[in-house]
Amino acid sequence: MTDRNNSFEKIAPEPTADIALPAFAPASTGFLSRLQHLLHSNPSMVPLIVLLMSVGVFGLVLGERFFSPFALTLILQQVQIVGIIAAAQSLIILTKGIDLSVGAIMVLSSVVMGQFTFRYGIPVPISIICGLICGMACGAVSGLLVSRMKLPPFIVTLGMWQIVLATNFLYSGNETIRAQIIETEAPLLQFFGTKFSIGGAVFTFGVIFMVLLIVGLAYALKHTAWGRHVYAVGDDIDAAELSGVKTGRVLLSVYMLSGLICAFAGWALIGRIGSVSPTAGQLSNIESITAVVIGGISLFGGRGSIMGALYGALIVGVFTLGLRLLGADAQWTYLLIGVLIICAVAVDQWIRRVSV
């Protein structure tokens, strides 16, 4: 019962802001409830733990086939595109938005990079820059509609999705640029596909990029004024405006940055699949949203850490590969992933509901 004496009401006269008090222990001190409390104080750890647990379980069941450096790094390679897109999606979701056009922007950007190089013979670096600008411009259009005209993000990006995708098909003429040609004539387009190995583990620049991107964004969101403003806008945009945040500018910057990240994902996509394919990425929106939500970022804005998006993407990747290796039939895999999505969030919720 001594723990209780540490509760704050007892410490009145002096402000004791920085003293880290021992965690409050409730009447029931079983292992579970202690774990719950531990996790509660660190909600962004939840998806990480789910991730580690699922790796552990599949490792136990599948043994070497799963626990090999090859298989584990394969997961990283398989989630890199979703991971990058999920970073973009997280930014938007943190501002209480949602972006249905991420996949389309990604594909259009990669098509621009490819077609500018091969159709018009523009030097590769310039084509890549054009592709990145294209992604950012798409983001800017959504951003302007959301921030200036105050249209709901869901509908803006729903419209943009159709517009960008149709543009992509019309512009590319549905033609794939083949990997062999890219490899010989414009290897820079495949830059993110470059592999290097450490031990048996094979990494690609795309994987490294994904990790660096998310760590960088986590820093920016936590330690810069811009990051705080993103959270404030997602939390309560009117309050943010009244307390002096240029909410319009913050929103625009978020959508543009997200478009740019999608364009980078497009570049990474060329590295991953080798070719420039206008039909890729059709499921990216739903996959990225899944990753973000499993990662514990609230769809109602302003809550959650972007690292969660990475963990969320990895959780889905681990389950997918693990179930495939277990030989589950594809439909059973989807069914189980459906169940697991719900379970992952139920665990998360259980932890958040500690003693309330």
Binding site: A71, I273, A330
Partner: protein
């Protein structure tokens, strides 16, 4: 070598009955030959990434060979190369890769040929009226996957229409074409697309459909305006229910493919590869092993070879 040969089957989706049949064939063969089989599929038509992931999984899994129906025939090539470098035999089923020699072998329907057959049949049926036919085309979706393009352009070629760019549908200028629409290859889309085309020109009298479910949907739309008896619907696939639809007069003719034999041929090839290291050979004169396509109709037209519905039912997707 006590190692049982293991194979992967990767299809575009596992919801289309065509691929379901293909998987059944592969499974039956695997049992017969004592092989291990893992099946994978994309979620939707055109889901390329899942197929790449499936190939990677097969490599990780140490399979001997892969049977693949590619969603994106040229993009998949890098992943296929990776698998072949890892010592797997890769066989393209149903659809040749681009380039075709990217796979070790191809057991496929000639989709262009399938289209050509139904096109020629439709033209022959109409006789002189073919010159002022009103044609509606129900394709799969706007991303124009190669199978859809090949069938569509094959149909137009067979009908005697200049196709423009053979890698794209929709760029034809022939005035007989009322329009293209997309059906997603199912009944619902088929009906909606047909209705849209009928609103443009209610006198359409020839309808090409990407597959039989789309044809069944189109038929419902025609029936709703009581024109089901004066429109020729042609389709591709030759599924048992598709052939039954011919019997019932829903579809005029369909080009039948043989997914089961593709799959079992493929399984045998992998077995041979795993045991003796021998790769299969293509059909002489083509860069792939043609598993054949037959026109099924009870209303045979002169100059176009066809089999009867009864035979079609016997062979449906065998």
């Amino acid at each position: 070598n006590d190692h049982t040969a293991s194979a992967c089957l990767i299809t575009k989706t596992d919801t289309n009955p065509f691929f379901v049949k293909m998987r059944e064939g592969a499974e039956a063969k695997a049992q017969e030959l004592g092989m291990q089989l893992r099946s994978y599929a994309g979620r939707i038509d055109g889901d390329h990434e899942t197929q790449v992931q499936a190939i990677e999984t097969c490599i990780a899994d140490g399979a001997d060979g892969i049977l693949l129906t590619a969603s994106d025939t040229s993009s998949i090539v890098s992943a296929v190369e990776q698998a072949r470098d890892a010592g797997l035999l890769v066989i393209a089923l149903d659809t040749p890769l681009d380039p075709a020699n990217a796979a070790d072998a191809t057991f496929a329907t000639d989709n262009f040929r399938a289209g050509e057959l139904i096109g020629a049949w439709a033209a022959a049926r109409l006789g002189n009226d073919a010159r002022n036919a009103r044609i509606g085309l129900l394709n799969i979706n706007v991303s124009q996957p190669s199978v859809g393009v090949l069938r569509n352009q094959g149909f137009l070629t067979g009908f005697g229409i200049d196709v423009g760019n053979p890698n794209r549908w929709g760029d034809e200028t022939d005035s007989r074409i009322v329009g293209h629409d997309v059906s997603d290859g199912n009944e619902e889309g088929g009906r909606r697309a047909m209705e849209n085309l009928l609103a443009q020109d209610p006198m359409i009298n020839v309808v090409y459909t990407i597959n039989e479910p789309a044809a069944a949907g189109a038929y419902q739309a025609l029936r709703a305006i009581n024109r089901e008896n004066d429109v020729l619907i042609v389709s591709v696939d030759g599924s048992c229910s598709g052939v039954a639809d011919i019997q019932d007069g829903v579809i005029g003719a369909t080009a039948q493919q043989y997914p089961l034999s593709m799959a079992s041929l493929g399984m045998e090839a992998i077995k041979r590869w795993a045991e003796d290291g021998v790769k299969p050979d293509p059909t002489p004169g083509k860069d792939f092993f043609d598993t054949g396509v037959s026109l099924v109709t009870d209303d045979a037209a002169s100059g176009v070879e066809s089999i009867s519905v009864r035979e079609g039912l016997n062979r449906c997707w065998g």
